[in-house]
């Protein structure tokens, strides 16, 4: 779904670029909390991983194949803000080093795959985890491995067609050629529903594999690994600590490492019990999802003939040229489709705004200092106190 140069006009490209820059700025701030100190290394390697994971292709329909977008996977593994940052980095490198995705469309691509894809995946994944967590608490156990996998898969499935729908919305605003919005949306969302299934399967499998080996590395499970941190002791020596195998390592004097290791375990346990988003936020998130999903399905079911049209036109149905010759394609811009398209666009805009709002809220919450009673002996380097 890497949009090249020339699909959208200059004003739209500049506007999406500005929006993407704002989102990226927020993500840089937010990811500092998710990654901890010196997070550039971890974010860079996660970006490498997402880049590599995008090489995993899977068959979609006859002859076509999709590849992983990775937004939902990044949300599950490293958290929403870092996911936006990482996806943006992947897109920047793809555009500038691999000529994949236009330079003028870089903002558009970041907005679609980095912000909308990641935002929707965050809402759905965290919403599902919060609901499951609530049920689990009633039954006396936290969200299990299956719950986390299901939540990440749900996020992956919804995020792909939503990003496709967002592309259609942008195309309706600044597209270069007049294509009926209804037909375009059907074709894009239809194909991307299938890609979404593949995305969900792969995301679930990858999250499951990581959970089996290093559950502390799956942020969606609420047990994020303690990032490498450095602490300057009173006598001037620097103590380093990493999460590798829960062990601590030091340079120079290393007294107190054992204590900080125990503290990390307590930290991990405490975070596992802490819900990631508030209950109210989760309900709103799920409601927004239902609205988006409901809008999409309504759209698809009211015009099955339109879907067949597009399937024929795009050649998925295996019918090559012959139906095209006789079909009155000029009748394509059905008034009803346009109206539904507009409704969809409206619903989508609302959900998107809500999503961004929730993202900001959750970011602010996470940044809020914890209660005085909480055990938090995570060492912090002096630089942070600037």
């Amino acid at each position: 779904m890497h949009v090249p140069d020339g699909f959208l006009g200059v004003p739209t490209s500049v506007a999406t670029g500005a929006l993407a820059a704002v989102a990226l700025g927020l993500a840089l701030r937010g990811s500092r909390r998710e990654l901890g100190e010196l997070g550039a290394v971890r974010a860079g390697l996660t970006a490498c991983f997402i880049f590599a994971a995008q090489m995993v292709n899977f068959p979609v329909a006859a002859g076509t194949s999709g590849h992983l977008l990775g937004g939902a996977l990044a949300v599950a593994l490293v958290g929403p803000w870092t996911a936006v940052l990482v996806m943006s980095c992947v897109l920047v490198v793809q555009a500038l080093v691999f000529a994949d995705g236009g330079v003028t469309a870089l903002g558009t691509n970041i907005l679609l795959m980095g912000v909308v894809g990641v935002g929707v995946a965050t809402l759905v994944s965290y919403g599902v985890t919060a609901i499951l967590g609530r049920r689990g608490r009633a039954a006396g156990r936290p969200v299990g491995r299956g719950g986390v996998i299901a939540a990440s898969a749900a996020g992956a499935f919804v995020s792909v067609p939503t990003a496709a729908a967002a592309f259609c919305l942008l195309y309706a605003i600044g597209g270069a050629v007049p294509i009926p919005l209804g037909a375009l949306t059907l074709a894009m969302v239809g194909t991307h529903l299938l890609i979404g299934v593949g995305e969900a399967v792969i995301t679930a499998a990858v999250v499951g594999a990581v959970l089996a080996v290093r559950p502390d590395l799956v942020r969606l499970a609420g047990r994020e690994g303690t990032p490498v941190t450095a602490m300057t002791l009173a006598d001037g020596t620097v103590v380093l600590r990493s999460a590798v195998g829960g062990a601590a390592s030091g340079v120079g004097a290393s007294s107190g490492d054992g204590a900080s290791g125990d503290g990390a375990d307590a930290d991990v346990r405490r975070r596992a019990e802490r819900p990631r988003l508030g209950r109210g936020a989760a309900v709103i998130a799920l409601a927004a999802t239902v609205v988006v999903a409901g809008g999409l399905s309504l759209f698809a079911s009211t015009s099955p003939d339109g879907l067949e049209h597009v399937a024929g036109a795009l050649g998925f149905a295996g019918s090559a040229v012959s139906p095209l010759v006789h079909t009155p394609l000029a009748d394509y811009g059905i008034a009803g489709l346009g109206a539904v398209g507009t409704t969809l666009a409206g619903l989508f805009g609302v959900a998107l705004t809500l999503g961004l709002g929730l993202l900001v809220v959750s970011g602010v919450r996470r940044g809020r200092p914890r209660g005085a009673g909480a055990v938090d002996d995570q060492p912090r380097p002096a630089e942070e106190r600037r």
Partner: protein, 280 residues
């Protein structure tokens, strides 16, 4: 690293998308190669903007842009085979552009047995031309600039420091991580990767999960190593001097010339009223 990934079974599941190749076209010295990266980045964005801004009625400007880009590619000594392979990323949207005459609305034209939209024909050709020019210009940059210099150029263009650091680490490890994935693919194939497609997909996804764990652990080792060597959150800036006016002039020659011609054509009004219902 080889470009072609040898997997004993088919169809390949891994590495069908991006493959960072062994080809290092930027090792060929050229006039474009020696320009500072920030000037080339600005030139690329300027060129792409001019191309996207050119309306269909100003098609001669696009021809001029093609001629200019080919000239620059020759000066930059871009390897043609490499460029053609890399240009393959454009293919999915090529299909989209080819479909435009069929699905677009408006006046119809009879071409052979097909009834096509006139606006779609013009628009499809225009989109194709713009996208190809954009890919071509990006390939000239990629062919004449090592990836780490591109990132350095972004830093000189005042991209936030934190972002540049992330990109630097990403570029630094991209080959290693992609190679890890490739080796996992070979190992998977060597261990009897001949079962059903779903089983293979599951195994691939599991490999990807392990790849993530490896990435994080590599990052942790790297952080510890960097910390113990005095890194405290920022990479040192490179000592290269800022670009001179002459270098900026050489880099920006193509976009400025094409942009000026486009502006002249538009101002002269020889292309008629713009954006009046036609493709923008």
């Amino acid at each position: 690293m080889t470009t072609a990934v040898v997997l004993p079974t088919s169809p390949p599941v891994l590495l069908a998308g991006h493959t960072p190749g062994i080809a290092r076209p930027w090792e060929r010295p050229s006039l474009v190669r020696s320009l500072p990266p920030e000037t080339k980045l600005v030139a690329l964005v300027g060129f792409a903007l001019v191309v996207v801004a050119a309306p269909a009625a100003a098609w001669p400007v696009l021809l001029l842009a093609v001629a200019g880009l080919v000239a620059v590619a020759v000066i930059a000594r871009v390897p043609y085979g490499w460029a053609l392979r890399r240009a393959g990323v454009e293919l999915p949207f090529l299909v989209f552009a080819l479909l435009m005459p069929i699905v677009a609305t408006g006046e119809r034209v009879q071409v052979g047995p097909l009834s096509l939209s006139a606006a779609g024909l013009v628009g499809g050709a225009l989109v194709l031309a713009r996208a190809t020019l954009g890919v071509g210009a990006a390939l000239v940059l990629a062919a004449s600039t090592p990836p780490h210099e591109i990132i350095e150029g972004l830093g000189r263009l005042r991209l936030p420091r934190a972002l540049v650091d992330v990109l630097t680490h990403m570029i630094r490890f991209l080959d290693i991580v992609a190679d890890d994935l490739r080796r996992q693919g070979i190992a998977q194939a060597a261990r009897g990767d001949h079962r059903s497609r779903m089983v293979r997909l599951a195994a691939t996804a599991a490999s990807a999960g392990h790849l993530f764990v490896r990435c994080v652990e590599r990052g942790e080792r790297l952080q510890l190593a960097m910390l113990s060597r005095g890194y405290r959150g920022a990479l040192p800036p490179s000592g290269r001097p800022a670009a001179t006016a002459g270098e900026w002039g050489r880099a920006l020659a193509l976009p400025v010339v094409v942009g000026a011609v486009l502006l002249a054509v538009l101002v002269a009004g020889s292309v008629g009223p713009l954006g009046a219902g036609g493709p923008r």
